[in-house]
Symmetry: C2
Subunit: 266 residues, 2 copies
Protein backbone atom coordinates (compact mmCIF):
# COMPACT_ATOMS: atom_id res chain seq x y z
CA UNK A 1 0.00 0.00 0.00
CA UNK A 2 1.76 3.11 -1.27
CA UNK A 3 -0.07 5.22 1.24
CA UNK A 4 1.16 3.33 4.25
CA UNK A 5 3.16 5.33 6.79
CA UNK A 6 5.62 2.49 7.28
CA UNK A 7 6.50 2.22 3.58
CA UNK A 8 8.05 5.67 3.35
CA UNK A 9 11.72 6.47 3.77
CA UNK A 10 11.56 8.24 7.09
CA UNK A 11 13.43 10.02 9.79
CA UNK A 12 11.89 8.77 13.01
CA UNK A 13 12.37 10.45 16.38
CA UNK A 14 11.38 8.55 19.50
CA UNK A 15 11.51 9.85 23.08
CA UNK A 16 12.08 7.48 25.97
CA UNK A 17 13.56 5.10 23.42
CA UNK A 18 15.64 3.02 25.81
CA UNK A 19 13.02 1.29 27.92
CA UNK A 20 9.62 -0.38 27.87
CA UNK A 21 7.28 0.63 25.09
CA UNK A 22 9.69 3.20 23.59
CA UNK A 23 12.33 0.52 23.16
CA UNK A 24 9.79 -1.92 21.71
CA UNK A 25 8.49 0.65 19.21
CA UNK A 26 12.07 1.46 18.21
CA UNK A 27 13.15 -2.12 17.60
CA UNK A 28 9.93 -3.18 15.87
CA UNK A 29 9.71 -0.09 13.68
CA UNK A 30 13.38 -0.49 12.69
CA UNK A 31 12.43 -3.82 11.11
CA UNK A 32 9.53 -2.23 9.25
CA UNK A 33 10.68 1.08 7.76
CA UNK A 34 12.34 0.98 4.32
CA UNK A 35 16.08 1.10 3.75
CA UNK A 36 17.60 4.54 4.05
CA UNK A 37 15.46 5.43 7.06
CA UNK A 38 17.06 7.11 10.07
CA UNK A 39 16.20 6.75 13.73
CA UNK A 40 16.96 9.58 16.13
CA UNK A 41 16.67 8.03 19.56
CA UNK A 42 16.17 10.26 22.59
CA UNK A 43 16.38 9.40 26.27
CA UNK A 44 18.23 10.43 29.41
CA UNK A 45 20.81 7.66 29.58
CA UNK A 46 23.53 7.70 26.91
CA UNK A 47 24.62 4.26 27.96
CA UNK A 48 21.23 2.67 27.31
CA UNK A 49 20.85 4.75 24.14
CA UNK A 50 24.08 3.33 22.73
CA UNK A 51 22.79 -0.19 23.21
CA UNK A 52 19.44 0.29 21.50
CA UNK A 53 21.04 2.37 18.75
CA UNK A 54 23.47 -0.47 17.91
CA UNK A 55 20.56 -2.88 17.79
CA UNK A 56 18.66 -0.64 15.37
CA UNK A 57 21.65 -0.48 13.03
CA UNK A 58 21.68 -4.28 12.73
CA UNK A 59 18.73 -3.86 10.36
CA UNK A 60 20.01 -3.69 6.81
CA UNK A 61 20.09 -0.10 5.51
CA UNK A 62 18.73 1.46 8.70
CA UNK A 63 20.71 4.26 10.33
CA UNK A 64 20.48 5.33 13.93
CA UNK A 65 21.87 8.13 16.04
CA UNK A 66 21.11 8.79 19.66
CA UNK A 67 21.08 11.98 21.68
CA UNK A 68 20.75 12.49 25.42
CA UNK A 69 17.43 14.20 26.05
CA UNK A 70 15.68 15.26 29.23
CA UNK A 71 12.11 16.31 28.46
CA UNK A 72 11.94 18.40 31.65
CA UNK A 73 14.65 20.74 30.23
CA UNK A 74 13.60 20.58 26.58
CA UNK A 75 13.66 24.19 25.45
CA UNK A 76 13.25 25.01 21.76
CA UNK A 77 16.81 26.16 21.18
CA UNK A 78 18.28 23.08 22.85
CA UNK A 79 15.90 20.84 20.90
CA UNK A 80 16.81 22.47 17.60
CA UNK A 81 20.52 22.12 18.19
CA UNK A 82 19.99 18.51 19.26
CA UNK A 83 18.08 17.61 16.09
CA UNK A 84 20.57 19.44 13.88
CA UNK A 85 23.48 17.73 15.63
CA UNK A 86 21.75 14.37 15.16
CA UNK A 87 21.36 14.99 11.42
CA UNK A 88 24.99 16.12 11.17
CA UNK A 89 26.14 13.05 13.11
CA UNK A 90 24.27 10.86 10.62
CA UNK A 91 25.69 12.95 7.75
CA UNK A 92 22.28 13.57 6.21
CA UNK A 93 19.99 16.41 5.20
CA UNK A 94 16.29 16.71 6.03
CA UNK A 95 15.45 16.67 2.33
CA UNK A 96 16.68 13.10 1.99
CA UNK A 97 13.53 11.84 3.71
CA UNK A 98 10.01 11.52 2.36
CA UNK A 99 8.52 11.58 5.81
CA UNK A 100 9.32 12.59 9.38
CA UNK A 101 7.83 10.73 12.35
CA UNK A 102 7.80 11.91 15.96
CA UNK A 103 6.77 9.46 18.65
CA UNK A 104 6.09 11.33 21.90
CA UNK A 105 6.52 8.38 24.19
CA UNK A 106 8.40 9.86 27.18
CA UNK A 107 6.31 10.50 30.25
CA UNK A 108 6.26 9.94 33.98
CA UNK A 109 3.80 8.40 36.41
CA UNK A 110 4.22 9.96 39.82
CA UNK A 111 2.45 11.51 42.80
CA UNK A 112 -0.28 8.86 42.70
CA UNK A 113 -2.26 10.49 45.46
CA UNK A 114 -5.81 11.76 45.84
CA UNK A 115 -6.57 15.25 44.50
CA UNK A 116 -7.18 16.56 48.03
CA UNK A 117 -3.55 15.81 48.90
CA UNK A 118 -2.01 17.41 45.82
CA UNK A 119 -1.54 20.81 47.40
CA UNK A 120 2.09 21.45 46.51
CA UNK A 121 2.47 23.93 43.69
CA UNK A 122 6.04 22.86 42.87
CA UNK A 123 5.01 19.19 42.51
CA UNK A 124 2.27 19.82 39.94
CA UNK A 125 4.32 22.45 38.13
CA UNK A 126 7.30 20.13 37.74
CA UNK A 127 5.03 17.29 36.60
CA UNK A 128 3.42 19.37 33.86
CA UNK A 129 6.78 20.81 32.83
CA UNK A 130 8.05 17.30 32.06
CA UNK A 131 4.86 15.78 30.71
CA UNK A 132 3.28 18.73 28.92
CA UNK A 133 5.68 21.63 28.31
CA UNK A 134 8.63 19.46 27.26
CA UNK A 135 6.41 17.52 24.89
CA UNK A 136 5.01 20.75 23.40
CA UNK A 137 8.44 22.27 22.80
CA UNK A 138 9.85 19.11 21.20
CA UNK A 139 6.81 18.85 18.94
CA UNK A 140 7.18 22.53 17.98
CA UNK A 141 10.84 22.04 17.13
CA UNK A 142 10.00 18.90 15.14
CA UNK A 143 7.44 20.87 13.10
CA UNK A 144 9.99 23.64 12.50
CA UNK A 145 12.87 21.39 11.45
CA UNK A 146 10.97 18.88 9.33
CA UNK A 147 8.73 20.80 7.00
CA UNK A 148 7.68 21.20 3.38
CA UNK A 149 9.11 21.31 0.81
CA UNK A 150 12.00 19.32 2.37
CA UNK A 151 9.76 16.69 3.90
CA UNK A 152 6.42 15.83 2.30
CA UNK A 153 4.53 14.29 5.19
CA UNK A 154 4.79 14.24 8.94
CA UNK A 155 3.40 11.92 11.56
CA UNK A 156 3.11 12.73 15.25
CA UNK A 157 2.14 9.90 17.58
CA UNK A 158 1.26 10.64 21.18
CA UNK A 159 1.58 7.65 23.46
CA UNK A 160 -1.59 8.11 25.42
CA UNK A 161 -3.49 5.98 27.89
CA UNK A 162 -6.97 4.90 28.86
CA UNK A 163 -6.36 7.47 31.60
CA UNK A 164 -6.70 10.23 28.99
CA UNK A 165 -10.39 9.53 28.60
CA UNK A 166 -11.31 7.67 31.76
CA UNK A 167 -10.78 9.25 35.20
CA UNK A 168 -8.71 7.12 37.58
CA UNK A 169 -8.79 7.71 41.31
CA UNK A 170 -5.53 9.05 42.78
CA UNK A 171 -4.07 9.56 39.30
CA UNK A 172 -5.00 13.23 38.87
CA UNK A 173 -1.78 14.56 37.35
CA UNK A 174 -1.33 11.64 34.97
CA UNK A 175 -4.95 11.77 33.76
CA UNK A 176 -4.85 15.55 33.32
CA UNK A 177 -1.59 15.41 31.35
CA UNK A 178 -2.83 12.61 29.11
CA UNK A 179 -6.12 14.43 28.44
CA UNK A 180 -4.19 17.59 27.57
CA UNK A 181 -1.81 15.73 25.27
CA UNK A 182 -4.74 14.22 23.36
CA UNK A 183 -6.02 17.74 22.78
CA UNK A 184 -2.57 18.68 21.52
CA UNK A 185 -2.79 16.07 18.75
CA UNK A 186 -6.16 17.49 17.70
CA UNK A 187 -4.77 20.99 17.46
CA UNK A 188 -1.59 20.02 15.61
CA UNK A 189 -3.74 18.10 13.09
CA UNK A 190 -5.99 21.14 12.64
CA UNK A 191 -3.09 23.57 12.24
CA UNK A 192 -0.62 21.67 10.07
CA UNK A 193 -0.82 20.56 6.46
CA UNK A 194 0.20 17.04 5.46
CA UNK A 195 0.50 15.97 9.06
CA UNK A 196 -1.05 12.85 10.54
CA UNK A 197 -1.56 12.68 14.30
CA UNK A 198 -2.60 9.78 16.49
CA UNK A 199 -3.34 9.19 20.17
CA UNK A 200 -2.38 5.60 20.86
CA UNK A 201 -3.31 4.04 24.20
CA UNK A 202 -0.96 1.06 24.46
CA UNK A 203 -2.84 -1.03 27.02
CA UNK A 204 -1.62 -2.06 30.48
CA UNK A 205 1.97 -2.99 29.74
CA UNK A 206 4.69 -5.08 31.30
CA UNK A 207 6.82 -2.06 32.23
CA UNK A 208 8.42 -0.35 35.22
CA UNK A 209 5.53 2.10 35.12
CA UNK A 210 3.05 -0.68 35.84
CA UNK A 211 5.16 -1.79 38.81
CA UNK A 212 5.04 1.81 40.06
CA UNK A 213 1.26 1.78 39.57
CA UNK A 214 0.85 -1.37 41.63
CA UNK A 215 3.23 -0.12 44.35
CA UNK A 216 2.30 3.51 44.70
CA UNK A 217 -1.31 4.07 43.64
CA UNK A 218 -3.13 5.42 46.70
CA UNK A 219 -6.56 4.22 45.65
CA UNK A 220 -6.82 0.63 46.97
CA UNK A 221 -9.08 -0.67 44.19
CA UNK A 222 -6.91 0.64 41.40
CA UNK A 223 -3.74 -0.52 43.14
CA UNK A 224 -5.26 -4.00 43.55
CA UNK A 225 -6.22 -4.11 39.89
CA UNK A 226 -2.60 -3.53 38.85
CA UNK A 227 -1.26 -6.02 41.40
CA UNK A 228 -3.66 -8.66 40.12
CA UNK A 229 -2.75 -8.06 36.49
CA UNK A 230 0.92 -8.52 37.38
CA UNK A 231 0.20 -11.71 39.35
CA UNK A 232 -2.05 -13.16 36.64
CA UNK A 233 0.50 -12.20 33.99
CA UNK A 234 -2.32 -10.65 32.00
CA UNK A 235 -0.50 -7.46 31.08
CA UNK A 236 0.31 -6.65 27.47
CA UNK A 237 3.86 -7.29 26.27
CA UNK A 238 5.53 -4.13 24.93
CA UNK A 239 6.39 -5.87 21.66
CA UNK A 240 2.73 -6.80 21.10
CA UNK A 241 1.61 -3.26 21.75
CA UNK A 242 4.35 -1.86 19.48
CA UNK A 243 3.19 -4.25 16.76
CA UNK A 244 -0.37 -3.01 17.15
CA UNK A 245 0.80 0.59 16.76
CA UNK A 246 2.74 -0.39 13.65
CA UNK A 247 -0.36 -2.14 12.26
CA UNK A 248 -2.33 1.09 12.75
CA UNK A 249 0.39 3.10 10.97
CA UNK A 250 0.64 0.49 8.21
CA UNK A 251 -3.10 0.60 7.56
CA UNK A 252 -3.08 4.40 7.80
CA UNK A 253 -6.84 4.84 7.72
CA UNK A 254 -7.27 6.35 11.18
CA UNK A 255 -8.91 9.72 11.55
CA UNK A 256 -6.38 12.35 12.65
CA UNK A 257 -5.99 12.67 16.43
CA UNK A 258 -8.23 9.69 17.09
CA UNK A 259 -7.78 7.87 20.40
CA UNK A 260 -7.05 4.26 19.50
CA UNK A 261 -6.55 1.66 22.18
CA UNK A 262 -4.48 -1.52 21.95
CA UNK A 263 -7.69 -3.50 22.34
CA UNK A 264 -9.58 -1.63 19.59
CA UNK A 265 -10.32 -3.23 16.23
CA UNK A 266 -8.61 -1.34 13.43
CA UNK B 1 -36.65 22.34 46.07
CA UNK B 2 -34.73 21.21 49.16
CA UNK B 3 -32.09 19.57 47.01
CA UNK B 4 -31.13 22.70 45.14
CA UNK B 5 -27.53 23.83 45.53
CA UNK B 6 -28.56 27.46 45.79
CA UNK B 7 -30.97 26.88 48.71
CA UNK B 8 -28.29 25.80 51.15
CA UNK B 9 -26.51 28.09 53.58
CA UNK B 10 -23.10 28.14 51.94
CA UNK B 11 -19.59 29.39 52.06
CA UNK B 12 -18.76 30.23 48.47
CA UNK B 13 -15.21 30.81 47.22
CA UNK B 14 -14.76 32.41 43.82
CA UNK B 15 -11.45 33.02 42.04
CA UNK B 16 -11.08 35.91 39.63
CA UNK B 17 -14.06 37.47 41.38
CA UNK B 18 -13.42 41.07 40.41
CA UNK B 19 -13.93 41.03 36.67
CA UNK B 20 -15.99 39.59 33.85
CA UNK B 21 -17.74 36.32 34.51
CA UNK B 22 -16.29 35.92 38.02
CA UNK B 23 -17.76 39.25 39.05
CA UNK B 24 -21.10 38.39 37.43
CA UNK B 25 -21.28 35.00 39.16
CA UNK B 26 -20.45 36.69 42.46
CA UNK B 27 -23.08 39.37 42.24
CA UNK B 28 -25.81 37.10 40.87
CA UNK B 29 -25.14 34.27 43.31
CA UNK B 30 -25.12 36.75 46.22
CA UNK B 31 -28.75 37.51 45.39
CA UNK B 32 -29.60 33.80 45.30
CA UNK B 33 -27.96 32.08 48.27
CA UNK B 34 -29.86 32.04 51.58
CA UNK B 35 -29.19 34.40 54.47
CA UNK B 36 -26.16 33.53 56.53
CA UNK B 37 -24.12 32.57 53.48
CA UNK B 38 -20.54 33.81 53.19
CA UNK B 39 -18.58 34.77 50.09
CA UNK B 40 -14.81 34.50 50.08
CA UNK B 41 -13.73 36.49 47.06
CA UNK B 42 -10.29 35.90 45.58
CA UNK B 43 -8.42 37.94 42.98
CA UNK B 44 -5.15 39.78 42.53
CA UNK B 45 -6.31 43.35 43.07
CA UNK B 46 -7.34 44.23 46.63
CA UNK B 47 -8.82 47.48 45.38
CA UNK B 48 -11.23 45.78 42.98
CA UNK B 49 -11.95 43.09 45.58
CA UNK B 50 -13.05 45.72 48.11
CA UNK B 51 -15.55 47.12 45.63
CA UNK B 52 -17.21 43.83 44.72
CA UNK B 53 -17.14 42.69 48.34
CA UNK B 54 -19.07 45.79 49.45
CA UNK B 55 -21.58 45.17 46.72
CA UNK B 56 -22.11 41.57 47.88
CA UNK B 57 -22.75 42.74 51.45
CA UNK B 58 -25.62 44.93 50.25
CA UNK B 59 -27.66 41.71 50.01
CA UNK B 60 -29.54 41.22 53.27
CA UNK B 61 -27.86 38.63 55.50
CA UNK B 62 -25.01 37.89 53.10
CA UNK B 63 -21.44 38.22 54.35
CA UNK B 64 -18.36 38.75 52.24
CA UNK B 65 -14.63 38.81 52.82
CA UNK B 66 -11.98 39.22 50.19
CA UNK B 67 -8.41 38.02 50.05
CA UNK B 68 -5.66 38.86 47.56
CA UNK B 69 -4.90 35.69 45.61
CA UNK B 70 -2.51 34.99 42.77
CA UNK B 71 -3.19 31.55 41.31
CA UNK B 72 0.33 31.34 39.90
CA UNK B 73 1.74 31.34 43.47
CA UNK B 74 -1.04 29.34 45.13
CA UNK B 75 0.80 26.80 47.25
CA UNK B 76 -1.15 24.63 49.70
CA UNK B 77 0.19 26.26 52.83
CA UNK B 78 -0.51 29.76 51.56
CA UNK B 79 -3.99 28.72 50.45
CA UNK B 80 -4.78 27.16 53.80
CA UNK B 81 -3.68 30.23 55.73
CA UNK B 82 -5.66 32.42 53.34
CA UNK B 83 -8.89 30.44 53.83
CA UNK B 84 -8.41 30.29 57.60
CA UNK B 85 -7.71 34.03 57.71
CA UNK B 86 -10.84 34.65 55.64
CA UNK B 87 -12.98 32.61 58.06
CA UNK B 88 -11.40 34.42 61.04
CA UNK B 89 -11.99 37.79 59.37
CA UNK B 90 -15.66 36.87 58.98
CA UNK B 91 -15.70 35.55 62.56
CA UNK B 92 -17.18 32.21 61.55
CA UNK B 93 -16.42 28.49 61.77
CA UNK B 94 -16.60 26.00 58.91
CA UNK B 95 -19.29 24.04 60.75
CA UNK B 96 -21.72 26.95 60.45
CA UNK B 97 -22.28 26.11 56.80
CA UNK B 98 -24.29 23.32 55.25
CA UNK B 99 -22.38 23.50 52.03
CA UNK B 100 -19.10 24.78 50.58
CA UNK B 101 -18.84 25.94 46.97
CA UNK B 102 -15.63 26.54 45.02
CA UNK B 103 -15.86 28.28 41.67
CA UNK B 104 -12.59 27.87 39.81
CA UNK B 105 -13.04 30.79 37.49
CA UNK B 106 -9.54 32.34 37.31
CA UNK B 107 -7.61 31.62 34.15
CA UNK B 108 -5.56 33.30 31.48
CA UNK B 109 -5.69 33.39 27.70
CA UNK B 110 -2.24 34.00 26.32
CA UNK B 111 0.38 32.92 23.76
CA UNK B 112 -2.27 32.52 21.06
CA UNK B 113 0.18 31.18 18.56
CA UNK B 114 0.41 28.04 16.45
CA UNK B 115 1.80 24.91 18.10
CA UNK B 116 4.89 25.01 15.88
CA UNK B 117 5.87 28.34 17.42
CA UNK B 118 5.37 27.33 21.06
CA UNK B 119 8.94 26.21 21.59
CA UNK B 120 9.74 28.06 24.80
CA UNK B 121 9.73 25.77 27.81
CA UNK B 122 9.36 28.63 30.31
CA UNK B 123 6.28 29.99 28.52
CA UNK B 124 4.31 26.73 28.62
CA UNK B 125 5.51 25.91 32.13
CA UNK B 126 4.38 29.27 33.49
CA UNK B 127 1.05 28.96 31.68
CA UNK B 128 0.28 25.56 33.19
CA UNK B 129 1.50 26.70 36.60
CA UNK B 130 -1.16 29.42 36.65
CA UNK B 131 -3.94 27.57 34.87
CA UNK B 132 -3.44 24.01 36.09
CA UNK B 133 -1.18 23.75 39.15
CA UNK B 134 -2.64 26.75 40.97
CA UNK B 135 -6.15 25.46 40.35
CA UNK B 136 -5.21 21.99 41.60
CA UNK B 137 -3.64 23.28 44.82
CA UNK B 138 -6.56 25.59 45.61
CA UNK B 139 -9.02 22.76 45.01
CA UNK B 140 -6.95 20.45 47.24
CA UNK B 141 -6.93 23.04 50.03
CA UNK B 142 -10.66 23.59 49.61
CA UNK B 143 -11.28 19.83 49.99
CA UNK B 144 -9.06 19.76 53.09
CA UNK B 145 -10.59 22.76 54.84
CA UNK B 146 -14.26 22.15 54.03
CA UNK B 147 -15.01 18.53 54.82
CA UNK B 148 -17.40 16.24 56.64
CA UNK B 149 -18.64 16.23 59.33
CA UNK B 150 -18.27 20.04 59.45
CA UNK B 151 -19.68 20.61 56.00
CA UNK B 152 -22.21 18.16 54.52
CA UNK B 153 -21.88 18.81 50.82
CA UNK B 154 -19.38 20.41 48.51
CA UNK B 155 -19.67 21.79 45.02
CA UNK B 156 -16.72 22.46 42.71
CA UNK B 157 -17.45 24.34 39.50
CA UNK B 158 -14.79 24.58 36.83
CA UNK B 159 -15.29 27.46 34.44
CA UNK B 160 -14.51 25.66 31.23
CA UNK B 161 -14.89 26.52 27.56
CA UNK B 162 -15.92 25.08 24.25
CA UNK B 163 -12.12 24.97 23.81
CA UNK B 164 -11.98 22.10 26.32
CA UNK B 165 -13.68 19.75 23.89
CA UNK B 166 -13.16 21.40 20.52
CA UNK B 167 -9.65 22.10 19.19
CA UNK B 168 -9.04 25.73 18.22
CA UNK B 169 -6.21 26.70 15.94
CA UNK B 170 -3.44 28.74 17.62
CA UNK B 171 -5.00 28.17 21.06
CA UNK B 172 -2.93 25.15 22.07
CA UNK B 173 -2.16 26.06 25.68
CA UNK B 174 -5.67 27.26 26.45
CA UNK B 175 -7.31 24.17 24.93
CA UNK B 176 -4.89 21.80 26.67
CA UNK B 177 -5.44 23.46 30.05
CA UNK B 178 -9.22 23.45 29.67
CA UNK B 179 -9.22 19.77 28.62
CA UNK B 180 -7.05 18.92 31.64
CA UNK B 181 -9.27 20.88 34.02
CA UNK B 182 -12.35 19.01 32.80
CA UNK B 183 -10.57 15.75 33.62
CA UNK B 184 -9.84 17.18 37.07
CA UNK B 185 -13.56 17.58 37.78
CA UNK B 186 -14.14 13.94 36.77
CA UNK B 187 -11.46 12.72 39.15
CA UNK B 188 -12.54 14.88 42.09
CA UNK B 189 -16.10 13.58 41.62
CA UNK B 190 -14.85 9.98 41.56
CA UNK B 191 -12.63 10.43 44.62
CA UNK B 192 -14.76 12.52 46.96
CA UNK B 193 -17.99 11.71 48.78
CA UNK B 194 -20.88 14.19 48.82
CA UNK B 195 -19.19 16.38 46.25
CA UNK B 196 -20.81 17.71 43.12
CA UNK B 197 -18.59 18.83 40.25
CA UNK B 198 -19.47 20.65 37.05
CA UNK B 199 -17.66 21.83 33.93
CA UNK B 200 -19.48 24.94 32.77
CA UNK B 201 -18.64 26.45 29.38
CA UNK B 202 -19.97 30.01 29.66
CA UNK B 203 -20.22 30.87 25.96
CA UNK B 204 -18.35 33.64 24.12
CA UNK B 205 -18.59 36.47 26.63
CA UNK B 206 -18.36 40.24 26.62
CA UNK B 207 -15.06 40.26 28.54
CA UNK B 208 -11.47 41.47 28.28
CA UNK B 209 -10.55 37.91 27.35
CA UNK B 210 -12.68 38.09 24.21
CA UNK B 211 -10.98 41.34 23.24
CA UNK B 212 -7.64 39.55 23.67
CA UNK B 213 -8.96 36.72 21.50
CA UNK B 214 -9.94 39.09 18.71
CA UNK B 215 -6.65 41.03 18.95
CA UNK B 216 -4.08 38.31 19.46
CA UNK B 217 -5.32 35.03 17.98
CA UNK B 218 -2.81 34.06 15.28
CA UNK B 219 -5.25 31.97 13.29
CA UNK B 220 -6.97 34.43 10.92
CA UNK B 221 -10.31 32.59 10.77
CA UNK B 222 -10.66 32.29 14.51
CA UNK B 223 -9.53 35.90 15.02
CA UNK B 224 -12.09 37.05 12.45
CA UNK B 225 -14.84 35.09 14.18
CA UNK B 226 -14.17 36.91 17.45
CA UNK B 227 -13.90 40.28 15.76
CA UNK B 228 -17.23 39.71 14.02
CA UNK B 229 -18.95 38.66 17.24
CA UNK B 230 -17.76 41.87 18.89
CA UNK B 231 -18.89 44.00 15.93
CA UNK B 232 -22.27 42.29 15.69
CA UNK B 233 -22.69 42.52 19.46
CA UNK B 234 -23.62 38.86 19.47
CA UNK B 235 -21.50 37.90 22.47
CA UNK B 236 -23.11 36.65 25.65
CA UNK B 237 -23.43 39.10 28.54
CA UNK B 238 -21.64 37.90 31.68
CA UNK B 239 -24.81 38.34 33.74
CA UNK B 240 -26.78 36.11 31.37
CA UNK B 241 -24.14 33.41 31.51
CA UNK B 242 -23.93 33.68 35.32
CA UNK B 243 -27.71 33.30 35.46
CA UNK B 244 -27.51 30.18 33.33
CA UNK B 245 -24.92 28.70 35.68
CA UNK B 246 -27.16 29.51 38.64
CA UNK B 247 -30.10 27.85 36.87
CA UNK B 248 -28.00 24.69 36.45
CA UNK B 249 -27.05 24.75 40.14
CA UNK B 250 -30.65 25.48 41.14
CA UNK B 251 -31.97 22.52 39.16
CA UNK B 252 -29.09 20.34 40.41
CA UNK B 253 -29.83 17.37 38.17
CA UNK B 254 -26.57 17.45 36.18
CA UNK B 255 -24.37 14.39 36.11
CA UNK B 256 -21.15 15.01 38.03
CA UNK B 257 -18.32 16.47 35.92
CA UNK B 258 -20.57 16.93 32.91
CA UNK B 259 -19.56 19.57 30.36
CA UNK B 260 -22.53 21.94 30.09
CA UNK B 261 -22.46 24.84 27.69
CA UNK B 262 -24.33 28.13 28.03
CA UNK B 263 -26.29 27.19 24.92
CA UNK B 264 -27.29 23.72 26.16
CA UNK B 265 -30.81 22.91 27.29
CA UNK B 266 -30.88 21.96 30.95
Amino acid sequence: MADSIVNKKSVCIITGATKGLGKAITSNLAKELPKGSLFILLARSQDLLDRISSQVKENDGIESVSMPFDQSCADGETNKKMLQDALAKAGVAVSQYEQAILINNAGTLDHLDYSRNLDRLDVSTEYFKTNLSGCITLTATFLQVFRAPDVKTRVVVNISSLAAISPMKSWLLYCMAKAAREMMMKIVAAEEENTRTLNYAPGPLVTEMTTTASDKTQDPELRKWFTEQIEKKSLVECDDSAQKLIAILRKNTFENALHIDYYDEI
